[in-house]
Symmetry: C2
Subunit: 669 residues, 2 copies
C-alpha cells in the first residue's frame, strides 16, 4: 500500500525507470475507497494559467512530458487588463503556430500622435506631430493590440488537444517541499506539492485592489487535458503532486515566490495614475491613435483598444498632495482627464474597467532556486508601470526563455547533471538583467509623463525600440558562445545585430523549392530544435557551392553531430540544418545538394523546406536578408540559432568544428 | 391534428404570419407516439454539404432565416479532390470572416515552370522558362492551395455556432414537390421534400467512378446546428420538409437536377487523363512548382499539393486508340507519366488517390426553375476539365452569387413579388453565361495539352486571368444598372474595370481613424449589406469637401434612403455608406463629417471605420487606389457595391438621385 506524501515531509520520488518496489508512488490506479490517493507524478508543475503559464506550457506540445497547470481561478480569464503585443511576442506566437489566429484578431498600431499645450499661450492642447510607429530594424509592424483574454484563449486552445498537458482550475497549491538530496539526479521528483480545491468567490477572481467595474468568470469551467470532462468523485485527481520541476507563473502576488523566500527589491514610486477602459463619446480627433496628451497638469497616455474602447492612463494630482489610490473615485479620475484633454470633450459611453494605482518598480532577487528545480516567471518576479505594455510581453518572453531549456532537460537531451544545471541557470542569468533594465527604463519613461521634455519624440522612438526587446542581449554561457579566443561581449567584433546572445533579426526569404516567401521566425517553429543556419552566399559560384557541399557532408558524417542532425529513425532531428543562399534560384538544384539539406523520409518524402534564397519574390518584393543582416555575399557565415530564436553562436561559414564545439558545450545529444 | 405531407400531393404551407387555424403545419411540438411527425418548416433547404452548399449556407449566419442542409454522406468530406483557391474565392472567405484561417493553412503558388523537348533534337525534356504566377491587376497572389476537406472544414465551422442553420448528414431527399399555385406569394412554403436516412456503405461515399485508392469517412458523425447532439428516437427530426426555397448543391450527379428536368448540354471530349496524387520520389528539380511538361506524347500538368504531395494530370494515349478510362490501370498511367518526364525519375512514395477520366464539358439548360423557387449550383449544372482548378472555385462563386439574393428575399427586404423574382432570376442570367464561357475556355485549354503551342506562355497567362474570374461581367439587370440613358454594356464608356457588372477590383487603403491599412474586400464582410462607396477625391480642397458634406447630408435625409442608410434602431443598415478620399489624413477631421459617415450608437460608440484614405501606409506602402481604379482625384465617383462585392452602378460622385434610382430599381427597403 503506498504511503502518503505529507506536506512537510519531503521525500524523493523516482520515476518508473528507477522505481524500486518500495517506491512511494504507483502508476497503477488505486481504489479511492480503500485509502487516500497517492501522489500524482508530473514532470512539470506550473502554478498559474495566465499568459506566462500558458506560454510556458506551449513548449511541451508534441512531447510525452507530463505537465500540470493549476490555477485558483475558476476558468479562463474573462477579461485581462493587458492588450499590447510586441512584434517579438508575435514571433513567439508564430513559433507556436497560433500567429495567424492572433494576427487576424489583432489591431495594428500604426502611429503615435503627440499633443501639447499651445505655443501661443492659449488654452487647451493642440496636435504637435504624428510619429509613424515604425522601427526600421524590424521591417514589420512593431505592436498590435489584442486583449489578454483572447491571447490566453489562443494559447490555451493550442494545448488542449495535447494529452500530456493538463489544466486544473479552481485549484491552488497550499504547500511545497523540495527534497534537496536528489535535485542533482535526473529522473527524480524532488518537488512535493499539495493542492486544494478553491471555492471561488466570483467577486474576487481579480487579485488587484481595483475599485472599479470588474468582469468575472460566470462559470466554473474545468478543463482537463487528459479526459476533457469535469472530474467527479470517483475519478477526482489526486491532490498530492510529485514533480521534477515547479514554475511559479502566479503573478504579482505570487504564492510560490513567498514559499521560495524570494524577495522583491525596489520601491513604490510617487506616481499615482488612474487607468480607465471606456467607450468614449468625444470629439477628440485622434481617439483611434496612440496619443500622448501633454498638458501642464500631466500627460495622459491614450491607447485605442478593441471594441471601440480606449484606455487612458491619467495622472492624478502628482507632486505635492499625493492621494492614496484607494481614495480615488472614477469621477475624480475622469475630471483629471477632462482637464487635460480640453477643449475637446470626453464623455463616457460605457466603462468596462477602471482602477487607480501607484507604480511599483521591483525585481526578484532570485529567478530560480533549489538547484534550478523551482523557477519564477513574469509578474511573479518583476513589476513595473503598465504603460509601456511590458507586463504580458515580458511574462510571455520569460516563459519562452525557460520553456525550451526545461523541454530539452526533461526529454533527456542534456547528458550530464552539470550541463542541465548550467543550462537551467541561464534562465536567471538571461532574464533577470532584462527585468532590471526594464525597471531602469521605466523610471525614465515615467519621468516623460511627469514633465514635458524637449526631445519627446526622440525619446519615444528610443522607448519603442527598447520595449520591443531589440536591445536585449543575453550574456555568454553554455547557450551563448562567443567566437573562439574571445571572452568579452563586443558588438564591434561582429556585424550588426547578428551577434551571440541577441534575437536572430527576422528577415524574409523565399523557399528554394517553390518560391514561396516567408519570414524566418515563422519558419522556426517551437519544436525544441536548434538550427544551424548556413548563410552560404552565392552558391552559383563554384567555390561557394563546394564549400556548402563540404559543410553538408561533414555535418552529415561528423561523429559528434551525425545523430543530432540526421537521426536514423523517423524522429525529428535535434538540430535542423538550414541554408540561406543568395544565388539565382534557377541556378541551384535543390536535390543535388547533400542530403542534410533536403533529407528523405520513406514516410513523407523529401523535406523541401530547408533551403532559402535571398532573392526577389513574385508578390512580396525582395527581403534583402544579406543586406539587412550585413552578411558579405562572398564570405557568408554560419549561425547557431537556439530553439527560442536567439543566437547561440556566429561562426565562419565553414567552421564546422565551431558547430561541434557549440553542441559539445551544451552537452546535448 | 396536422395532416401529413405526402409526396406527390403538393400543398401550400403558409408561415405563422399568415397561418390560419387550419394550417397543415404546426409550430408546436407533437408527441411522436401520437402520430407521424408533421413537416418541418425551413426557409431554405440546401441539398449537398460540399463547397457549394456550405458556401451558400454561410450567407445566412447572423439571421433568423432557417436553413437546413442535407447530405447523404455520413459526415464532412475526409478528402476532396479539389485544392486550388483563386484570389477571388479567397475574397469570399475574407467576407465570411474565415480568410485568415484559410490563408494560414494554404500554400501559395508563385510560379509556373514550362518544360519542353530539347531544341537540339536530344531526348528528354528541358526547362524552357519560369513564368511568375502574377496578375498585375490583382496586386496579390492569384492562387493558393488548400485541400477541399480543409476548405469545407472552415466553412462548416463558421456556421456551426449559428442556431438557424442545421446540417443533417446521412440524409437524402427522395421526393420533391413544388406547389406552383403560391410561388408568387411571399412567406409561403411551396416546396415539399421528403427525406430519408441513408445507411452509408463507406466504400461508396465518393460518387466518382474512380478506380484508385480512396479515403473514406470512418465515423458517421452527425452535426446538428440546433442542438449539437445525435438525434435519437424521441427527438428524431421530421423527414417531411416544407421549404420556401430549395437549392441543389448536389454535384455532378445531382438528384435535384433530375427532379427539375434540367438537362446538361454538351459533350464528352476525346481526352482521357489519368490523375494521380502521390508523394514523389523523383529527381525532377521543379517538383514543387506548377509545371507544364510538354513532350511529344502529350503534356503533363504537375501541381504541388500540401503534405509533400504532387498531383499530375497525365494524358493517356490520346489520339487514335482512345482507351476506356475504366480499363486504365495505375501502372499504365504512371508509365505514361514516366515517358514524358524522362530523363528524370518518378518513383512512387505513396499514393493517396488516383483516377482516370474522360472530360465532360456540359452546362445545364436552366439554373433555376419553378418561378425561382428551385436552384442548381456548382457541379450540378456545369462540368468541365478539372485542370484549370475551376470546379470548387466556380461552385463557391455560384453559391456566393445566389446567397445574398436569397438572404435579401427571405429577410423581407425586397418589397414586391415581381422585384423578388427579378432579383432571383439574375442568378441564372449572371451565372449561366459564366459556365458557358468556362466551357469555351476549357476547350481551348485542353487543346494546349494536346499539341504544343508556340504562344504557350502568352496563352497560359491569359488563362490565369480568365480562371481567376477577372473577365466575368454580369449583364444589366435590376442589380446591375447602367448609367442613365445608356442601355448597352460598353467598357469604353467607363473607366478601367470599375464598370457595372464586374467585381469591384480590390484595392488597399488606410483607415482615416487609425492609419491601419486594409484591402477593401476584407472590409466588405458578407452581412448582406450594399455599400455606397464615395470616392470623394481630395477633400482637403473646399469644393470636394463641400460636395462630400452635401452628399452625406442628402443620403442621411433622403426620404427614400434615410431608413436604409441610417435606421432608427440599433439594427445594421441595409446600405453602408463608405468614403474613400485621397487627401492627407491630418487635414481631415473624421468627426466633423456628416453622421452617415461615422454614425454614433449609444451601445457601441462611433463607427470609426467607414472612411478610408488613399495614402502611404506606415508599414505596407501606398495602395494607389485612385490610380489602380483610374479615378480622377479631382472628379471622383460613387460606386454602388452589391453585397457580393460586384458593382451595381457607377455614378458621378454627387449623383445622389442615381443612388436612389439604384435602390428603387431593386425595390428594397
Amino acid at each position: 500500500m503506498p504511503t502518503l506524501q505529507v506536506p512537510g515531509t519531503p521525500r524523493c520520488v523516482h520515476d518508473k525507470h528507477h522505481a524500486s518496489t518500495a517506491s512511494p508512488c504507483s502508476d497503477y490506479p488505486i481504489l479511492h475507497n480503500m485509502s487516500p490517493p497517492a501522489s500524482t507524478k508530473v514532470d512539470l508543475l506550473i502554478v498559474g494559467a495566465g499568459p506566462a503559464g500558458l506560454a510556458l506550457a506551449n513548449w511541451f506540445r508534441g512531447t510525452n512530458i507530463k505537465v500540470l497547470i493549476v490555477d485558483k481561478k475558476p476558468g479562463p480569464t474573462p477579461r485581462g487588463q493587458a492588450e499590447g503585443l510586441k512584434s517579438t511576442t508575435n514571433e513567439i506566437f508564430d513559433s507556436y503556430g497560433i500567429g495567424p489566429q492572433v494576427t487576424a484578431e489583432s489591431w495594428r498600431l500604426e502611429e503615435i500622435a503627440c499633443w501639447g499645450t499651445r505655443k501661443d499661450g492659449g488654452e487647451g492642447i493642440v496636435r504637435e506631430q504624428v510619429i509613424p510607429d515604425r522601427v526600421a530594424e524590424l521591417g514589420k509592424p512593431r505592436e498590435t493590440m489584442l486583449q489578454q483574454s483572447r491571447v490566453e484563449h489562443h494559447m490555451l486552445h493550442n494545448i488542449l488537444s495535447h494529452d500530456n498537458i493538463e489544466i486544473r482550475y479552481s485549484t491552488a497549491p497550499i504547500s511545497v517541499d523540495v527534497d534537496t538530496s536528489c535535485v542533482h539526479e535526473a529522473d527524480t521528483f524532488p518537488v512535493s506539492v499539495s493542492l486544494e480545491k478553491v471555492t471561488t468567490n466570483t467577486n474576487t477572481t481579480n487579485g488587484d485592489t481595483t475599485n472599479g467595474t470588474n468582469c468575472h468568470a460566470t462559470n466554473g469551467h474545468h478543463i482537463n487535458g487528459q479526459n476533457g470532462h469535469q472530474p467527479n468523485e470517483h475519478d477526482a485527481p489526486s491532490d498530492m503532486i510529485s514533480a521534477k520541476y515547479i514554475v511559479g507563473c502566479d503573478g504579482a502576488r505570487s504564492w510560490l515566490r513567498k514559499q521560495l523566500d524570494v524577495s522583491l527589491e525596489g520601491d513604490l514610486t510617487d506616481s499615482v495614475f488612474g487607468v480607465v477602459d471606456l467607450v468614449p463619446k468625444s470629439n477628440f480627433p485622434d481617439i483611434r491613435r496612440v496619443c500622448y496628451l501633454r498638458a501642464a497638469s500631466g500627460t495622459i497616455l491614450l491607447v485605442p483598444r478593441s471594441n471601440k474602447e480606449v484606455r487612458m492612463y491619467i495622472p492624478v494630482e502628482s507632486g505635492t498632495a499625493l492621494p492614496d489610490p484607494k481614495d480615488l473615485t472614477f469621477d475624480r479620475v475622469m475630471d483629471a482627464a477632462r482637464k487635460i484633454i480640453a477643449p475637446y470633450t470626453m464623455e463616457v459611453g460605457s466603462v468596462s474597467w477602471w482602477s487607480a494605482y501607484r507604480v511599483r518598480q521591483r525585481v526578484g532577487n532570485h529567478f530560480s532556486r533549489l538547484n534550478e528545480r523551482a523557477f519564477l516567471v513574469g509578474d511573479a518576479v518583476h513589476t513595473h508601470s503598465p504603460k509601456a505594455g511590458q507586463g504580458m510581453n515580458t511574462s510571455i518572453q520569460d516563459a519562452y526563455n525557460l520553456g525550451w531549456k526545461l523541454r530539452l532537460t526533461l526529454r533527456g537531451k542534456v547528458r550530464s547533471s552539470g550541463a542541465r544545471q548550467d543550462l537551467l541557470r541561464t534562465y536567471e542569468s538571461e532574464r533577470r538583467p532584462v527585468a532590471l533594465d526594464l525597471i531602469a527604463f521605466d523610471k525614465g519613461f515615467l519621468k516623460l509623463f511627469a514633465a514635458p521634455s524637449a526631445q519627446f519624440d526622440t525619446e519615444i522612438l528610443q522607448a519603442l525600440k527598447f520595449t520591443t526587446g531589440l536591445s536585449i542581449r543575453y550574456p555568454p554561457s553554455c547557450a551563448v558562445q562567443l567566437p573562439k579566443g574571445i571572452e568579452q561581449l563586443g558588438p564591434s567584433l561582429l556585424k550588426a545585430d547578428l551577434v551571440p546572445g541577441k534575437r536572430l533579426p527576422d528577415f524574409r526569404v523565399v523557399y528554394q523549392a517553390d518560391g514561396v516567401p516567408t519570414w524566418m521566425h515563422k519558419r522556426l517553429s517551437a519544436t525544441g530544435q536548434f538550427r544551424v543556419m548556413i548563410f552560404a552566399g552565392d552558391i552559383s559560384d563554384s567555390t561557394a557551392s563546394k564549400r556548402l557541399h563540404d559543410v553538408g557532408k561533414y555535418l552529415g558524417e561528423s561523429k559528434s553531430l551525425k545523430h543530432v542532425v540526421m537521426p536514423q529513425s523517423e524522429q525529428e532531428p535535434l538540430v535542423e540544418v538550414l541554408v540561406v543562399h543568395c544565388a539565382e534560384r534557377d541556378l541551384v538544384d535543390l536535390l543535388a545538394l547533400p542530403e542534410v539539406y533536403r533529407p528523405w523520409s520513406d514516410e513523407s518524402g523529401y523535406d523541401f523546406w530547408r533551403v532559402f534564397a535571398d532573392v526577389e519574390s513574385v508578390h512580396d518584393g525582395h527581403g534583402k536578408a544579406y543586406e539587412r543582416l550585413e552578411i558579405d555575399r562572398q564570405v557568408g557565415c554560419t549561425v547557431v540559432v537556439r530553439p527560442d530564436g536567439y543566437i547561440g553562436a556566429v561562426l565562419e561559414v565553414d567552421d564546422v568544428e565551431g558547430v561541434e564545439r557549440y553542441f559539445e558545450g551544451m552537452n546535448v545529444s
